[in-house]
Assembly symmetry: C2
Homo-oligomer: 480 residues x 2
């Protein structure tokens, strides 16, 4: 147990310094490495395997809703970026510019894509002619670059991996439905696979995507009470279509502009998983995205038959579809316990000479360390049940955190008091809809607007700030 | 049939103008679109789906040989690129340089990765300490940028998609074994999945990768007799390790440099597939990578029961694991025939009222248009057999082309005559090993060296050029 203690001591406790706890985990669980490229990160095999699992699960949800994958160039000529006025204003200040190819200066600067609306629009103008060409439901998996000043692994980096869906529709209504459909796909994915509850809603005017008519978002609450925007879905109306002249001939042979959407989630989701479920012993991974779901640790492995049994169980569990690793290295059991707790492996399987005699092994849940003795013949069934139960527990714990830390307030003083009494969290208030009140609440209380939730409630008659007639329920929080 | 003819007429015949035939196919089979980003392409859903299949199949071969995926930053600081002298000399003239982030000039230029040896080396120097950390067997899937002057879709573009494996080993021997292992993985993949025979060999000194001790390559022969380098695998010795100080403590507690490799294939493989198997009606896709393996075309689809049957067969074939599409659109049968021939779908399934009465349907192979009547109850079995037979035929035809077009020559005049008499192809000669002879043969005959094949033959005593004692058999060809 000495070694175990040592490993655990190396991470800062989340209650002492949450930011340092986070940084400790991303490094010590081997998720990332820093490099000499400022603001960018190396995503190591264990971190990348989480992303591959996220990709696989999301991609099948995208395909099930009729989307196809494509690949656009990573560069955008300056003149193309400038075609939609709001869009370029939003992104130009934070793009990386390529000015030279080899030794030659380029005639026109190219930016490294911060997002690909302009490229998709140019392509759509080429390939959409008739109503029979619609809808176009495209997605791409790629990396994008935004020249951020302050960066943190997964949460905000100059380069990050993401998917960006871009769709074109015959009518505004279809496009709005798509925007909502994909927000729901994200929310379902977060709940079912990442065990993470989210609040679904619309961003305020001041907070929308550059060029969008409306931006929808899912907002999650991290363990420290700060909000994290986990995915967005934008409705563009025909603004981009007009700027890029994307027209089609409708059934009555008239020329019409298409209506568009875009939507995306990023490697930030890995940060969300860490800060939703992790604890002072390290990562705790939801089974759906864990690179290793069950780690097998042979106990007293020098004893005859132990390693063979470990290997046999590994093969059985793999054959049953679990992602399994057997660690038969010569590291001590204590070291191994701490290592796989740090890495958040959902189930630890211990098997030693006595267990073998008794025809059983032990399964230990990562989240609550609960031990279950399992007869070998029931291993697959019990492992499945325990993983499902662990997933439910993670979700319920995160939901409990979200609910306990959502404060309904009717005055700015009430907000200040709620946060002072209970710590950071979501603040729920009524709001008149004016940006001036949005700004003032932030200035007075420190929480910014997160979203106008789809589930509107009548918490009070009047705006939390100006006291005039309220139009919306609004969620506020400090945010990543 | 009128429509079918019209579709087919739109492609240039490959015998008339092979380059134009290729360009016609990539556009008309909806593989790519051009964009305003010069030298880059949009990979459309049908083209990208081929790449996804290639990725899936290769990735599982990489994982089966113990490799893990990672993701490195897309930027390389100029000072990092410069650390290995030969490497920077090879790549600096063809990289894209980022000089500004937002409105600010960067303190140091960053190049967009043309390949990531330098980034992997920096990371390896961080994470490798002991012999227990070795080997490191990493791979990444990403896009890279090389500022090419002349570009062609898939074959040579400024941005392309690829995978790059980067490994570090304790000994030179292990690294050399890895280099060869991965070349074999590529060759097996080309043969078994792309139905494409390749020649395996070593590049001459003048043709190696910048920074490598040895470069191995697989060379395929396209339908027009030109060679295409389809994949490379490099052995680095400890050159990069010394430049980046990647050392480990060996079992005797001594500090040693690691030995490294890298290996890659790109979206160029899609070009190779097109030019290996395509014909004057369009693409012909190997079943393993075809986005749609079987297209179902209902005949006289307005008659009762036809669409239902088409749908039923689609579900059956999907359930059996085939990639299937049913085209129940109102386009004419002739249009559909031509469309899916253009797209290279391996099998066409036709089903009409008479077929249904007879309890059967028709399967038509894309490559030779052979028809097979199939009882419904035998559909899955026969479809599997026909796809396997089609794959064998594609391979045998490509192998036949390669063998017929490989000319064994013993003089430069002989080379000139062989090419004049038989058209372009591989030329196989003996060679003294001197670069001067390599250059002179190219100057006199137009064919450049491709590789020193692993299967060495004794074709003659003397060098094809200088007449001195020969050291190697060498393959030559005009190349893409």
């Amino acid at each position: 147990m000495a070694e175990q203690k040592k490993m655990v001591d190396e991470i800062t406790s989340m209650d002492v310094d949450f930011a340092q706890w986070y940084t400790d985990i991303v490094k010590k669980a081997d998720l990332i490495d820093y490099s000499s490229v400022k603001g960018c990160m190396v995503i190591r095999p264990y971190g990348y395997a989480i992303w591959e699992n996220i990709q696989k699960l999301l991609d099948s949800r995208f395909k099930a809703t009729g989307h196809e994958n494509v690949y656009m160039p990573m560069f955008i000529p300056e003149s193309l970026l400038e075609k939609e006025k709001d869009h370029v204003e939003g992104f130009a200040p934070e793009v990386a510019w390529v000015t030279h190819g080899g030794n030659e200066k380029l005639a026109e600067r190219l930016c490294v894509r911060p997002t690909s609306e302009t490229l998709f629009c140019e392509h759509y103008a080429n390939i959409i002619q008739s109503h029979r060409d619609l809808p176009k439901l495209y997605n791409q998996w790629c990396s994008v670059v935004r020249w951020e000043k302050t960066t943190r692994p997964f949460l905000r980096s100059r380069e990050f991996l993401w998917q960006e869906g871009h769709t074109a529709h015959a009518t505004a209504q279809e496009a709005i439905e798509e925007t909502e459909r994909m927000l729901n796909v994200y929310a379902d994915f977060c709940r079912e696979e990442l065990c993470m509850p989210v609040v679904k809603g619309r961003k305020t005017e001041s907070d929308k995507f550059a060029g969008a008519e409306a931006t929808y978002a899912i907002e999650a609450l991290m363990h420290d009470g700060k909000a994290l925007q986990a995915g967005t879905s934008h409705y563009f109306g025909d603004g981009f279509a007009k700027a890029f002249n994307i027209m089609f001939t409708d059934k009555d042979n008239k020329q019409q502009y298409v209506h568009q959407t875009s939507w995306g989630v990023t490697t930030r989701l890995i940060g969300a998983v860490i800060m939703s479920h992790g604890d002072d012993n390290g990562l705790v991974l939801p089974p759906a995205v864990a690179p290793v779901q069950i780690v097998i640790l042979p106990i007293a492995q020098h004893k005859p038959g132990v390693l063979e049994k470990a290997q046999e169980l590994k093969e059985r569990l793999s054959a049953a579809g679990f992602r399994v690793k057997a660690d038969c290295s010569e590291n001590s059991a204590g070291w191994k316990f701490a290592e796989y707790e740090m890495k958040g492996v959902p189930l630890r399987l211990e098997v030693g000479p006595k267990d073998i005699e008794n025809g059983q092994c032990v399964l230990v849940r990562r989240d609550n360390r609960e031990k279950t003795f399992v007869k070998f013949e029931e291993l697959e069934k019990v492992a499945k049940t325990l993983l499902d139960e662990l997933a439910s527990s993670l979700y319920n714990k995160a939901l409990d955190n979200l609910e306990k830390r959502t404060y309904s307030c009717t005055s700015t003083d009430g907000i200040i008091k709620a946060l002072a009494d209970n710590g950071d969290g979501f603040v729920k208030t009524m709001w008149c809809g004016e940006e001036a009140c949005e700004d003032k609440v932030k200035e007075l209380t420190g929480v910014g607007s997160r979203c106008i939730p789809f589930e509107q409630e009548q918490l009070a008659e009047n705006c939390v700030c100006c006291g005039k007639k309220a139009k919306y329920t609004l969620y506020w929080a400090k945010a990543y």
